[in-house]
Amino acid sequence: MTTDIARMRNIGISAHIDSGKTTLTERILFYCKKIHKIHEVKGKDGIGATMDSMDLERERGITIASATTNVEWGDHSINIIDTPGHVDFTIEVERSLRVLDSAILVLCSVGGIQSQTITVDRQLRRYNVPFIAFVNKADRVGANPLKVRDQISEKLGHQSVLMQIPIGLEGAFLGLVDLVAMKALYFDGPEGEVVRVEPIPAELAAEAAAKREELLDAASLFSDELTEALLEGRATEDLVRAAVRKGVLARKLVPVFIGSAYRNKGIQPLLDAVVHYLPDPAEVENRAVDLDGEGEERVLSADPAAKTVALAFKLEEGPYGQLTYVRVYQGSLRKGEEIVNTRSGQKIKVGRLVRMHADTMAEITEAGPGDIVALFGVECASGDTFCSPGLNLAMTSIYVPEPVISLAIEPIDKAAADRVAKALNRFTKEDPTFRTHVDTESNQTIIQGMGELHLDVYVERMKREYRAEVRTGMPQVAYREAVSQAVDFDYTHKKQTGGAGQYSRVIGRLEPLAKGVFEFANEVRGGRIPREFIPSCEKGFRAALRKGPLIGFPVTGVRVVLNDGQYHPVDSSDIAFQMASQGAFRQVYMKAKPQVLEPVMKVSVEGPTEFAGNVFATISQRRGVIVSSVEDGTFSRVDAEVPLAEMFGYSTVLRSLTQGKAEFTMEFLKYGRVPPHIAEMLTEQHLEAERKKSQR
């Protein structure tokens, strides 16, 4: 096990769901001698690949799709960090992208760039993650890795360059020509474990020479040394690799590798490429937010002797008890030393510290910058940052998107109820976008999240991991209310029935706020409302916002300006001003022309062109707006904005309309105005429900 930071790689394997990520990971583990036999993913057409990997894990007791797996390739140590494939898991994606330093983008030789690939690429761009591309499935009918390479430039807008060309394709895919070494590579032995190096076949010599020229042209942009060497005819393999590496690190060049994980071809050169072209932890700039200042960012240093900064990115309840996966960014984690959770302020002592391998774990006493290790028995939530005492930094943004959908769940029996509670407790710790509460009126347990699938997965996990079965209700959209017009208020709260009286008066203005949920401005002069009661007023307004009078959903985008009022030396109190503020809100709310807002999703549908008309129709029927449609021969993609409320059951509809040939992804985009007739319907439903409640 190396501790030399230059020999460490923290990589993610990012892929479209059918591109063979599980098979590739399996092969990597095999060639790195982490597992001793290759087990095939069931259903080799790739359908249900994610489920397969979960089953594999369970059967074999290893953690392929787990938080991280450590492998060794030559004298390098590679941590493979799992990246969730679906956009519903925004927080998890953000977190895993923080943890990895670089990635392999896996593409399919047949399918090429698809909407999920574009999503993944956007995430890599957002977090500035350098990557190399692996075009998999070169053995498949219709495989065209060179076209996929062109798509990387055209559709993703990256400067890309072939590092290899295939020897044969489809059923005749035999091996690769390495354009740096200018050698042919074949993969022999029952599992392709023997790499045989041969001269380039004569019939490929011309193509190889031409593609090498392209490679040298692209690489020399990043290295004057290489340019000079090329002019003098003394370019070495090392010079070429160093230049490509510079391009990759700057995110200005994407080297493209080819292979077939299923046929055991091209994996060893890909592992070499991870070592050659992807950065070590010290080459990546990491930043953290300073919680003591005004949110400035601090650049962290990969110095093991500096003060410690580490991020807890995943909690896992394994056979060994509760594990907290952490990545160290700065300084070191040492057994027995004290660290502080900067979210809770809680101090903890580092107890057992382990490094996870695919099937075992090793006790260690110290972990340095770039290391990914697990802590035992630490109470924290994922996303928490640990620092040495005296430092107060946070690795992840504090911003958590509000859930857009909710679902009522009910345990099927008493025994399940306890396990449900346990499961929910765990999930909410792991994932801040997943929330749960008990509705006080219906007494039902409500779970909330970022999409239908997001909640489905948790319901499924309850069943699988906690044997807790639940009945579910209909998914509910998280509507919002918002005011659209400024209004003045002047409200007096008076109560004089027995005991101490209550008196308070608030005067001011309620206005729409373009960005944010709520803003409170105090412009009261001359002590017309004593200072100690100003927070009471704010509290009162906040309470009123929780449940809007229109449809009973939270009110958002409100600014309250308090500019005058009155008090009574005896009868005014905290509660009196809270009451006055709530009263003022109720009094003028309807005059502020309230509107109903609904979550609008960004939807992307892909499939054969022949179904484009059907897809247009489904979007239009769902109050959607088509933004664009792209047709490339027989393949088409439609991008649209559709209200979440209309998207329930869309996958079933789409499947039956397109014979299962089209698929879609969606993610939250924004809150948008609900059309008047639907807002009216929601208002009536709300009134009806309120009426029933009062009759009871």
């Binding site: 055209e154 559709k155 807008g157 062109t609 484009a612 008309g613 059907n614 247009f616 129709a617 979007i619 239009s620 707006v625 088509i626 933004v627 664009s628 449609s629 792209v630 047709e631 490339d632 021969g633 027989t634 088409s636 991008d639």
Partner: protein
Amino acid sequence: MTLTVKEELIKRSPLRVLEKSISGGLGRGNIGVLASRKGVGKTACLVHIAADKLLQDQHVIHVSYASRVDHIVTWYENIFKEIAKKPKMHAALDEFDDLIRHRVIMNFKQDGAKTQQVLRSLEAMIVHGNFRAQTVIVDGLDFALAGPDDLLKFKELAGRLGLEIWFSASLKKEDPQFDERGIPYELAGYLDVIDVLISLQHHGDHVHFNLVQDHGRLAPKDLQLKLDPTTLLIAKDVPVRAR
């Protein structure tokens, strides 16, 4: 009665000058073509025409060949920004988000896209997608690949669905590109199908608009319009006069 910001924008648009010169506009069921050498500014003009229709609350389909969708989106954003830069027009920008919902971009890869398929998808968008477009912008159709027959098929669709379709035509021939009547040699075979043909030409540092054909009449005429090189908007070309 005072005009709203939007009405003011529409009224003052230099495109009104263009409409006046071509008997009130292109008209439904008709085909208009902007022809020039590559890089003169056809896309900018088409997007300006589209933006003008959007301001008038019309629906527009922007068909493009081989260009990336995000580039087209940026074109529109920039054109709207430029329009709103004029004095007192900032308020118009607030409406941009709503207006842009009336535009759909349809992107086709040239080599894979037969006109028949493009028309099928266009019709599907309008009929099945319930997108009530009045104007269609077609940018980047290769007139050398698509013959007069293809253009005729577009015209048939325009007539059937009541569309105005504006094309850009990239002229690739070496000089001279135009015959003595100002007709681009490459488009001579298409004149029967084209209702309005306008050529864009560099004159010194300006791009000028010449009306070549107006609803069947060959009527060479300088439209007194230019392409503003900084805003990439079509602008009135006011001759410099001494005060």
